[in-house]
């Protein structure tokens, strides 16, 4: 007779394969019987609560401003405010009971969210604006065709095989995003790069030679194409990351106190004065010396998935991200040094939505004046 251990083995094989017809029949028949049962009634309220929480944790488009406004007047207590609505924001301390102040109800919305777009600077100095609409061929350079495909910059080699020894053919391009824009490109070796706002990447049009080297400023997320024969190096400020084939994020903005490299998959070596090797889930914080921390990798790359995700993030850091994405200027009228916020919201909402969510946690209030965001107590 089938023991629970054997059943565990069968279940594992259900997905990976290797079950007999009889075994499959047994599992699926059980499943059908369960699916048709009504033994435990479903508590609708709990389900709705869970679905709302799920909405906040997924990269879905959260509620529109109109819907949000309607919800607030009905709210009586802070607990309900935090549970309803599409984004759940918490403070490390107690939740707040006051109603949030809508930042820009009367003034027209000047600060709109970022979009996709970038500027490509070719080796000869020509600059091309890359709008995310329309597929087109941008240029032909040294055996590579540069295309704009589905809003991404893609390099396709026109010649078969690698021109290993043709060093004279190497030319460099730079793709830069202004504030308020992010962009995605595919490098000549197939490596995918996501550039956040106010960032740039400098790279050759073909990876000849024994190494692949690129340079970035700002923030970029990489999914490096495997090539054991050519290690991939990323240089930023005073740090260099050496990669074999992997997924990682580098945040190296000038106005941030440290360079943060977060590894999701694979292995990287981070050089800066000293070295450190990162395992998935770890983050190297470089600021003179190197520190390694275990982090929520989801939060580190949330920007590329269209979200702001903050896990006990100091408010100042949050305001810098907001400033870059919405191309706004932050003016502080209060000390925010001890304030931290925890929450998730889509990047594609209006800045007033994002600011209102932060206000709900009680850390600060905001006033938006044109392109300025004023932080008030």
């Amino acid at each position: 007779m089938m023991q629970p251990e054997e059943i565990k083995a069968l279940l594992e094989k259900y997905v990976s394969g290797g079950l007999t017809d009889a075994e499959k029949a047994m599992l699926e028949s059980w499943y059908i019987k369960q699916a048709d049962s009504n033994d435990v009634p479903l508590d609708e309220y709990t389900m709705q609560q869970n679905l709302r929480q799920m909405t906040a944790r997924l990269p879905v488009q959260k509620s529109s401003p109109a819907l949000l406004h309607r919800l607030w007047p009905k709210v009586a207590a802070a607990a309900i405010v935090l549970l309803t609505g599409s984004a759940i924001w918490f403070l490390t301390k107690r939740p707040v009971t006051e109603k949030p102040v809508l930042a820009a109800t009367t003034a027209p919305q000047m600060v709109s969210p970022g979009k996709d777009g970038a500027i490509l600077t070719l080796a000869d100095g020509r600059q091309i604006i890359l709008d995310s609409t329309g597929d087109k061929i941008i240029a032909n350079q040294n055996g590579a065709r540069v295309l704009l495909e589905d809003g991404r910059l893609v390099y396709k080699s026109l010649t078969a095989g690698n021109r290993q020894n043709d060093r004279s053919a190497i030319s460099y391009n730079t793709v830069a995003t202004p504030r308020g824009r992010q962009f995605q490109l595919v490098l000549p070796d197939g490596t995918k790069v996501w550039l956040n706002a106010a960032s740039s990447i400098h790279y050759p049009t073909a990876f000849t030679g024994s190494e692949r080297r690129v340079e970035i400023t700002g923030e970029a997320y990489f999914e490096v194409a495997h090539d054991k024969s050519k290690p991939f190096h990323v240089r930023s400020n005073k740090q260099e990351v050496e990669v074999l084939g992997t997924h990682f994020n580098i945040m190296a903005y000038d106005d941030e106190p440290a360079i943060k490299t977060t590894l999701l998959e694979g292995k990287v070596k981070v050089h800066s004065n000293t070295n450190v090797i990162l395992e998935p889930g770890e983050q190297a914080i470089v600021n003179g010396k190197i520190k390694v921390a275990l982090v929520n990798t989801e939060a580190a790359v949330a920007w590329k998935n269209g979200e702001f995700m903050f896990r006990n993030e100091p408010l100042e850091n949050i305001m810098r991200s907001i400033a870059r994405w919405y191309d706004a200027e932050i003016i502080y009228k209060t000390d925010v040094s001890k304030k931290a916020v925890w929450g998730t919201v889509t990047k594609y909402s209006n800045v007033s939505d994002v600011l209102n969510m932060i206000t709900l946690t009680g850390v600060a209030h905001f006033r938006v004046e044109g392109k300025k965001i004023i932080v008030l107590p």
């Binding site: 259900y14 997905v15 029949a25 028949s29 059980w30 879905v60």
Partner: protein, 189 residues
């Protein structure tokens, strides 16, 4: 301004492949309750069901660019839920009530040995769930799932001649497509 609610499942998947966040949102909105209820009937545990459904949708977003769905989106989603439920149970301790339940079931006779019949049976259960959706949700769901026409086109068609006649024709077509769909539903695993 496109109403994503009016798009068919096929159109939504095509948009999802292009990282369209609104299409992803619509897919989530359309299926979240259905999948939740279905998983709950099997597991009877809100916390576990919540995790499974959330992980499923997270994974869908993560592989949005490479996602290819040969069957219908409905089939794909329910199949994924089933796989994830089996996988979750597989990782529970041997004392787990779910393993006990399967054990008890395995002791008795009465499996549905014919694969086609199992597929149809599961399909019937899912259709029952859909039928119990609130009316508005169900209309959008049915129309966009059974046919590849947009709601607008269907509406136009239904308005062309006598509504009752058209409705009957539409119903007949719907039932026919349902039968065809259910045959293909779970065969190709």
């Amino acid at each position: 301004m496109v109403t994503y609610r009016a798009l068919s499942d096929t159109e939504l998947v095509a948009l999802l492949n292009k990282s369209d966040q609104l299409a992803y949102t619509e897919i989530f909105e359309r299926y979240k309750q259905l999948l939740y209820r279905h998983a709950f009937r099997i597991l009877n545990d809100h916390e576990v069901v919540n995790d499974i459904i959330q992980e499923l949708f997270l994974a869908i977003w993560q592989k949005r660019e490479t996602l290819v769905i040969h069957s219908s989106l409905t089939a794909y989603l329910f199949q994924s839920v089933r796989n994830r439920i089996f996988d979750w149970i597989a990782h529970q301790r041997v004392e787990s009530k779910y393993l006990q339940s399967i054990h008890d079931f395995a002791e008795k006779a009465g499996f549905i040995t014919d694969e086609t019949i199992r597929a149809r049976e599961l399909n019937r259960i899912i259709e029952k769930e859909i039928a119990s959706l609130p009316p508005k949700m169900r209309t959008v769901f049915d129309l966009s799932r059974e046919t590849d026409l947009t709601y607008k086109e269907i509406g136009e068609q239904l308005n062309i001649s006598d509504k009752t006649v058209k409705q009957q024709v539409y119903n007949a077509v719907k039932i026919l497509r349902l039968k065809i769909n259910s045959f293909l539903f779970f065969i190709h695993l």
